[in-house]
Amino acid sequence: MTQVEQATYTADEMMAVAAARRLGNGTVCFVGIGLPSLAANLARATHAPDCVLIYESGAIGAKPRRLPLSIGDGELAETADAVVSVPEIFSYWLQGGWIDIGFLGAAQIDAHGNLNSTVIGDYDRPKVRLPGAGGAPEIAAWCRETYVMLRQSPRTFVEQLDFLTSVGHPRGSGGAGVTCVVTDLGVLEPDAETGELVLTELHPDATVAQAKEATGWDLRVAGDIRPGQAPTAEELSALRALEAA
C-alpha cells in the first residue's frame, strides 16, 4: 500500500501538499513563483478557497486559473482584485503588516532559519553568483510568519551560510520570522526557546536518519515528531489539474 502510494506522487508534490495544508481559509499569503505558488493555489483549490494570494508584482487577491509562469504573468493581473505598483505592494502591504504568511526559497538555510540567496563562496569572488535578495529580507521581516520550501541536503542545510540574505528571526519587526520549513523529507519548526529548527514531521517513508544525513548541522528531532500524511487523491488530482492548466 505504501509502496503504491509512494509511486504516485513526487517529492515536489509532497512539499506542495504539506505546505498547502498549513494554510487556513482566508490566510493572506505572499507568494513567489514555483512551489509556493503551487502550494497556495492548491490550498485555494481544496480546503481554503478564500486563501488570499498576493504576488510581489503587485497583484492583490490573484485567483489564477493556471499556474503563473512568472510574477509578471498577465493571468495574475487579469484575475486579481487589484493591481498596485511595486513600491506600494512593498510599503503599504508587506511592510504595512497585512500579510499572514510569506513564502521563501533559498540556496542555503542555517539552523536558525537564516537564508542565503546571494552567493556561494566569497562575495567578491563568488563560486556561484545567485540571483540575490529580491523580496526575501522584507518577507522574512514583515510577514506574521514565513514558510521556507527547500529540498534538504548538506549543501543547502548548512552550518554556516556563505551570505546572510534574510534573517530567520528578525528582531522588532512584528513578525515571528521563519516558523516552518517544508522539505522533501519532512517539516522543521523552530524550538520555542532557542529558535533552532527542529524536525517535527516526517513525510511518509522518510526516516530520521535520512533527514539527519541531509542536514549540515546536528539536526535535533522533536520528541513528539509527527508522521506526515501522504497526499490524498483529492489533493493530487487538484495539484495535477493546476499543473496541467
Binding site: 504573468d73 493581473a77 511595486v86 511592510q95 556561484v128 540571483p131 535578495a133 523580496g135 528582531r171
Partner: protein, 272 residues
C-alpha cells in the same frame, strides 16, 4: 512634450556612454526593443539599473555594454540563472561588472524617492543581513520616536526606459496590467524613452492603468512587439519556450555571440 521619434533616434540622442540607465518593467513590459537598440549602437560603460535584471540585461552585460549593475534580483524568471551575468561577476567576462545590490523593498523605495525628488527613501529593512555592508544603505533615526530605520539613496537615472501598450499622437502614454516601477522611473529620470506597441487615437481609461503625460516624457518610440519575448498585457504572452531556451544559448560564450549577431546585431531597428 514628448517627441514621437524612431527608436534608433531616441537611443542615439538620449543615451550616452557612461550614463546611468534604468530599463524597467517588473517582469512585464520589459523594454527588449530598446535594450537591443542600445546593443546595436554599442553603448558602453553604462550603469544599468533594474530591480529584476533578466534576459535583456543578460544580453546587455554579455555584449559588454555595462560597467555596473544596480539590482535586487537577477535571474531568468521561472527558469534559473543568468549565465552572462554570472560569467561577468564570476570571471569578469567580457568585462568586470561592479554590483550594487538591494532588496526589492529598498530598491522600490529608492525609485519612489527619485520620483519624489527627495535624496533618500526610508524602509524598515536590511538590519541583520550581510547586504547592509555590501550596498549603499545607511541608518537613519526617527526624530520623533528614536527608532532606527534604513535609508536608501534615491535612484535618479540619466535615462529611464520603459515599454507601454499605447501612446496617442501627442505622446501621452498608457500602460496597464502589472505596472511595477514604470511611473517612478519615468518621473525620476533626467531623460526618458517610452516604447509603445502602437499609437492610438484616444487612450481609453482602464482599470489598473498608469497614465504618463507627454510633458513628463522625453521621447516616445513606436516598437510593436517591443517587449517580446516577454509579456505585453492585452497584446501578447511571454514566449516561455524562449526563456527556457535562453538557458542553453547563454551558457556558452560563443553560442551567445552567434545568437546575438544573428538575432540582434543583424536586425534592423523596428521600422516606424
Amino acid at each position: 512634450m514628448a517627441e514621437v521619434v524612431p527608436l534608433s533616434v531616441a537611443v542615439r540622442d538620449l543615451v550616452h556612454d557612461g550614463d546611468v540607465v534604468a530599463l524597467e518593467g517588473f517582469t512585464h513590459l520589459i523594454p527588449y526593443a530598446a535594450g537591443h537598440e542600445l546593443i546595436r549602437q554599442e553603448r558602453h560603460d553604462l550603469t544599468l539599473v533594474r530591480m529584476t535584471p533578466d534576459v535583456i540585461y543578460d544580453q546587455l552585460i554579455g555584449m559588454g555594454c555595462a560597467r555596473k549593475l544596480v539590482f535586487s534580483w537577477g535571474g531568468n524568471p521561472g527558469v534559473g540563472s543568468l549565465h552572462r551575468l554570472r560569467d561577468a561577476v564570476e570571471h569578469g567576462w567580457p568585462a568586470p561588472l561592479e554590483l550594487e545590490e538591494h532588496s526589492h523593498a529598498g530598491m522600490a523605495a529608492a525609485y519612489s524617492a527619485g520620483a519624489a525628488k527627495v535624496p533618500f527613501g526610508v524602509v524598515r529593512g536590511y538590519e541583520g543581513t550581510d547586504l547592509e555592508e555590501r550596498t549603499r544603505v545607511s541608518s537613519i533615526e526617527c526624530p520623533f520616536t528614536g527608532e532606527r530605520l534604513a535609508a536608501v539613496p534615491a535612484i535618479r537615472p540619466d535615462v529611464g526606459i520603459v515599454h507601454a501598450q499605447q501612446a496617442d499622437e501627442a505622446g501621452n502614454v498608457q500602460l496597464w496590467g502589472i505596472s511595477g516601477v514604470q511611473k517612478e522611473v519615468v518621473l525620476g529620470s533626467s531623460r526618458s524613452i517610452v516604447t509603445v506597441e502602437e499609437i492610438v487615437d484616444r487612450l481609453e481609461p482602464r482599470p489598473n492603468s498608469v497614465f504618463l503625460p507627454s510633458w513628463a516624457i522625453t521621447a516616445v518610440a513606436v516598437a510593436p512587439g517591443g517587449a517580446r519575448p516577454s509579456y505585453a498585457h492585452g497584446y501578447y504572452d511571454r514566449d516561455n519556450a524562449f526563456y527556457v531556451r535562453w538557458d542553453a544559448i547563454s551558457r556558452d560564450r560563443e553560442v551567445f555571440g552567434f545568437w546575438m549577431q544573428r538575432h540582434v546585431l543583424e536586425q534592423e531597428p523596428t521600422p516606424v
